[in-house]
Amino acid sequence: MRALAVVLALLIGMPAVALEPDEILPDPVLEQRARELSKEIRCVVCQNESIDSSNADIAREVRLLVRERLVAGDSDQQVLDYLVARYGDFVLLRPPVKPGTYLLWFGPGIVLLFGLAAVFFFFRRQRAAATGAASLSAEEEARLARLLDDPDAAQNNQPTAPAEPKERR
């Protein structure tokens, strides 16, 4: 499914595949942080790929850069800030929460709230309909209308049709 991404990356040209052994830091704790951080950073020339899995040259450069900053003592946030200053928000796979992305971040919650409200009103209306329907079902109402319209039908109907128990409550 990521065929396109791969093709695109290949067109841009690079023989290496993702993280190479020579990039790995000797300090396993720092390396672990670098790997975790790499998964949050987008390879800017790829289609929705993190620098961790990308094989583009620029991804390798950014991976090395991240490690350089970590070795220099930057915190994870400082590394991200540094990259955002260079490449913009585009480089973050987790978009920052700002006015432009409020809809993105709060959209799912809003949809859920709307859904919950809709469900609530659905049940309220249903309850209202239920109390209304308790007196007369749709069939009974139709029969009543017929009876009122046409007195002959009433006489024909009465012996044969005792109210059908159609109402499904």
Binding site: V7, V17, P21, R42, V91, P108, L112, F123
Partner: protein
């Protein structure tokens, strides 16, 4: 000759679709039986014509007729026969033709097996199917014709993208498309019901199996695609929240919701308006899924401009289909009479919860997938929405869904007693605690969240079995009695248990794969070893081999655990010279509870090779779970009551009444 025949057949198919889309509709409006009856032969004829066109294209691929542009651009004489055939749909034009073929196939099934449908409904359903067909046939003939010739013809073709030359991907598109197109049935029935102004249990009895069939295909298609990504891309990942994946996942989420709400319509005559809306939205998402991938829209808004003709056509087609059907819905939905009433805490209420969370999850995926485009169009700023976003928003929606999924099947229709339901879930709670405890015991570092997640999966799994066990009185009646009960239980009930249990298995797999996967990258020389998760991988060396249309470096790893041999892994790095494209072929050994996964990288020129070893706990369960889900769908489809041409309702009623009452 053959190409022109195919082209001609496709044009005739369009004309047939025009007839099928107009006359029977007019007939249905006027009550003219003869005009309505026209729909059936027209649908069958359309299938014959489209099949002819498809066969023609397949033939052109098989004989490598490079005078046809489409073949020249996507095939090669040295390609293995399997991929020559599957290459037919490995490109834009061919895949459109496949889409149309599947659509015609579904349409003709309504024509052939729809004898028990009311004639006006049948005519209208086939009419709507024809409209969809017209849109796709026009699109194919006008902007994406696979039968065009090229002069002068090239000496050989440009070959199919090597990544697509794989059995997994060969069958992924047809299954995905069968799923997408399958939802067109629910859509056509929904539109027909809106025109008709009538929607009853008989309608749902038809819509449900078609939706289920589409769901089975889509589930299989997505699982196959994910599996392919896992073993072919060599990244050890199985889901990337890539836009292309997301657009196939959205119809699955809504289709799953539709599957459940259709049950409520069938059994209880309730949620009709909502079900119709779901049917429309699910198919709309299928259309978006088909087109968005093809148009390149997701790469960037600008990709649309590279092929404005196609892009504009797609946009207009989507606008007419989605806008038109939603408009019809807004106008006609009030006509549909509300049906059976139910309390909030009931089986129906459970389905509403299911629909709520699935719809919200679908909205989340939609937002995340389209937001970068949206923002770029609005103020030109660029953002990326990647896996971290989806993990933060989608997963929290799944947690309550899975929790309630255990409860739903235990609740009776109309009104349920929550305390009673929870009382029956004691065993599930015990299972959840055991799974969580086991996780904490096996994994160091006190992994609270993963343990809770595993508990949730176990909760669902055990609850599904408890429900099933309750129905057949397992361990409460003699085994022979339980066996008899199991035999007489409707297949749909077995199907549900399988599908829900399969979901639990898949969820456990996803948790394991996301939380505990290990990756080690090392530079190894032949004879050197590395240890990952307790397994020793000895690198024996690399040999060069030659495939039918590629060259490869094949590495050999001998895997041992505490000295005992486990497996020999032979990952490859292939080069397809025609497109000058390298691919990785990961080698995977599965132990059933985890995968040992090896990838060979590049040589450093001094005798060392980049070696990537992944340890992927529980990953195989993802596809095992999907398989069980698909199996559940198939078992349910084989239910006598759902089978095409099922006995009339009078006969079906007794067991329908018997079934939904759990003790």
């Amino acid at each position: 000759m053959i190409a022109e025949l195919g082209h001609f057949a496709l044009i005739l198919a369009l004309l047939t679709a025009l007839v099928q889309g107009s006359l029977p509709m007019i007939g249905a409006a006027r009550g003219d039986a003869a005009w309505m009856a026209l729909a059936r032969p027209a649908a069958v004829l359309q299938l014959v014509l489209v099949a002819l066109a498809f066969a023609a294209l397949t033939y052109l691929y098989v004989v490598s007729d490079f005078t046809v542009i489409n073949v020249a651009e996507n095939s090669h004489s040295a390609k293995p026969m399997l991929y020559k055939v599957t290459g037919v749909w490995g490109n834009h034009e061919g895949s459109m033709l496949l889409w149309i073929l599947i659509l015609a196939l579904f349409g003709s099934m309504v024509a052939l097996f729809g004898a028990n449908l009311p004639p006006s409904l049948r005519a209208r359903v086939l009419g709507v199917q024809a409209w969809i067909g017209i849109g796709f046939l026009l699109f194919t003939l006008l902007t994406s014709n696979p039968f065009l010739r090229v002069f002068p013809a090239p000496a050989d073709g440009r070959d199919l993208n090597p990544l697509l030359q794989d059995p997994g991907l060969a069958f992924h598109p047809p299954m995905l498309y069968a799923g997408y197109v399958g939802f067109s049935m629910a859509f056509s029935f929904a539109i027909a019901a809106l025109i008709e102004g009538k929607l009853d249990a008989a309608w749902a009895r038809w819509v449900r199996p078609w939706t289920l069939l589409a769901w089975v295909f889509l589930t299989g298609g997505i699982a196959l695609g994910s599996w392919w990504a896992y073993y072919e891309l060599g990244w050890g990942g199985w889901w990337f929240w890539d836009p292309v994946e997301n657009v196939s996942f959205m119809p699955w989420l809504l289709g799953t919701a539709l599957l459940h709400s259709a049950i409520v319509v069938e059994k209880r005559d309730a949620l009709k308006v909502w079900t119709v809306l779901l049917a429309i939205l699910t198919f709309s998402l299928s259309l978006i899924g088909t087109f968005i991938v093809r148009s390149g829209l997701l790469t960037s808004v600008h990709a649309f401009a590279t092929d404005p003709e196609r892009g504009l056509f797609i946009l207009i087609l989507l606008l007419i289909t989605i806008g038109g059907s939603l408009l019809l819905f807004a106008l006609r939905a009030p006509v549909l009479k509300p049906g059976g009433l139910f309390a909030p805490i009931s089986r129906e209420g459970g389905m509403v919860i299911n629909n709520l969370f699935l719809a919200a999850a679908c909205a989340t995926v939609l937002l995340g997938t389209l937001y970068p485009l949206f923002l770029e169009a609005v103020d030109g700023s660029k953002v990326s929405v990647g896996p971290p976003f989806f993990n933060a928003t989608f997963v929290p929606l799944m947690v309550p869904l899975i929790f309630f999924m255990a409860l739903g099947p235990l609740m009776p229709w109309k009104r349920a007693d929550l305390a009673g339901v929870f009382a029956r879930l004691k065993l599930a709670a015990l299972g959840a605690l055991a799974a969580a405890g086991l996780t904490l015991y096996l994994r160091e570092g006190w992994p609270v969240l993963p343990a809770a997640a595993m508990g949730l999966a176990a909760w669902l799994f055990v609850a599904s079995l408890v429900e099933w066990g309750g129905r057949i009185k397992l361990f409460r009646a003699p085994l022979s009695d339980s066996w008899r009960r199991a035999r007489s239980l409707p297949r749909a009930a077995h199907g549900m248990t399988l599908a829900h249990a399969g979901m639990a298995i898949a969820v456990a797999g996803m948790i394991g794969a996301s939380v505990w996967n290990l990756e080690e990258v090392r530079n190894l020389r032949p004879g050197e070893s590395m240890q990952v998760a307790g397994y020793d991988y000895r690198f024996d060396g690399v040999e060069q081999i030659e495939g039918p249309n590629y060259l490869a470096d094949r590495a050999r790893f001998t895997v041992t655990r505490e000295g005992r041999p486990v497996a020999v892994l032979t990952p490859e790095k292939r080069l397809y010279p025609v497109q000058n494209m390298p691919t990785t072929e990961a080698a995977i050994h599965t132990t059933g509870v985890s995968d040992l996964y090896a990838v060979i990288g590049d040589s450093d020129g001094r005798g060392g090779w980049t070696v990537r070893i992944f340890h992927e706990p529980l990953v195989p369960w993802i596809w095992l779970g999907c398989l069980v889900m698909v199996l559940g769908g198939l078992v349910s489809l084989s239910d006598r009551r759902l089978r095409i041409g099922a006995p009339k309702r009078a006969k079906a009623r007794p067991d329908a009444a018997q079934e939904p009452i759990p003790a």
